[in-house]
Subunit: 237 residues, 2 copies
DNA sequence: GTTAACAATCACGTCAACAAAATTTTTCCT
DNA sequence: AGGAAAAATTTTGTTGACGTGATTGTTAAC
């Protein structure tokens, strides 16, 4: 189940879901890998799922496409994106560019309450790992990074990170070895310690290393990005 | 006519030529400050301007809004965004986070042809400054930064930079002292020299300093965000 | 003379029907 | 029986019309 506050949209006639809600719900589903790369996102199905008109759905899909989370193919429909190895490298390069600084800024700006929230979040992560609730673990793992961006108090970078974290989930789904845990929460723990000692530099370094490890655990360059290259696959040697 | 069927792996936008075109044209107009903050972007007017249906325009406006370049107000219409001082600080913080790394990566990856293109670009910048073609100077000035992101060969960060450069133009339009030139092309020149000596670290440092100077030339915290506070403005003393 | 309520106009937002394209199923021929 | 062509169905894309909400100008009342 989603731990996020359940919206009561369709309960009473409390008015429509904003398209932003739809976008966020789909983002979340992608992060939790309930929507694997390549999944067809039919308009009519989504209309029924969210109980809204087609126009709302189409706008949501357009927004998702502009963040490269869905692939919008003309006259064919919308599909969950299948990042190529090249795109995967670019996403990680962007994260390695931004997140160390975000971590440092977060340390510098975190209130004691923020740090408490981070601690609480980490406990939830531990619990999820312990209970083998894979989806919950993945979701919390991504949200940890978003929490940092939120503490850094930069809405621009927060928005960018939302996109990057979501796409990272797709990337791990495609290129991750099945055994690999997305984020070792040990790493998150070490970053939290940097908060407690108010060591921004350490947080930045740990984040950089954290991302390097994750990317290293992937198998880029082997598998193609979901849209399998059949030509090469069946080519005679 | 629709384009002839191309190779199978050409998944990128098929008929979205007009779509991205409208967005890019509006981006460009905002960068050149021909569309000042707060300008109303009436759907019907844009329909006529671009000679397309209302739906196309609405989608373009939605995309522009998702990049926070236009402000979409319910039942009132679309307006060119008026960044607040806080938003301005966030944009610059994001740029200072990303662009030094982008500059370094660009230096590391630039071909000799890339460097020649940069040189040519700088000459155009000089010419525009000399001829007092303000719009052209501003446009080229922003494009220099996009060129670096392009050379860095990271499409994710390139897209993010397009947004940030455009919003920076709005910010300078609001908070910039009239005399201030957006980018001193001397700074660009120094960065180009770092390319010639293949000194990535120097390029990163110069870029950081460059951005710091620009932000320092603004007067944040004084003016309100373009949506001028008429109440205060005309209040009797 | 000022203010407040009301009405008219205009633009945006949504809905429904229509057209075009693609996928699937059926049918016919080899 | 297998495959190819054609028809039917489903799905997407577009256009038009209509309802809603906001802004503005007018009028009436105080």
């Amino acid at each position: 189940m989603t731990a996020a506050p359940r919206s009561i949209d369709d309960l009473s006639g409390v008015d429509e879901i904003a398209e932003e809600d739809i976008v966020d719900r789909i983002f979340e589903a992608v992060v939790e890998q309930r929507l694997p790369p390549g999944t067809k996102l039919s308009e009519s199905v989504l209309c029924e799922a969210f109980g809204v008109g087609r126009m709302r759905i189409r706008r949501a899909l357009l927004l998702l496409a502009s963040r490269e989370v869905v692939d919008l193919q003309a006259n064919r429909g919308a599909f969950v994106a299948s990042p190529s190895p090249q795109q995967a490298r670019e996403v990680f390069e962007a994260r390695m560019t931004m997140e160390p600084t975000i971590a440092r800024l977060a340390v510098e700006r975190a209130s004691v309450e923020d740090i408490a929230n981070l601690s609480a979040h980490l406990m939830k992560e531990h619990a999820a790992h312990h209970e083998d609730s894979r989806q919950e673990a993945i979701r919390l793992s991504g949200q940890f990074h978003l929490l940092l961006a939120q503490i850094a108090a930069n809405s621009v970078m927060l928005r960018m990170m939302k996109e990057l974290v979501t796409r990272t989930s797709l990337i791990i789904g495609i290129f991750g070895a099945p055994s690999v845990t997305n984020c070792r929460d040990d790493d998150h723990e070490r970053i939290l310690n940097a908060f407690k000692t108010r060591d921004g530099k350490a947080a930045a370094d740990l984040m950089a290393e954290h991302l390097r490890v994750i990317e290293g655990s992937l198998e880029l360059g082997n598998k193609t990005g979901g849209a399998v290259d059949l030509v090469n696959l069946f080519k005679r040697k």
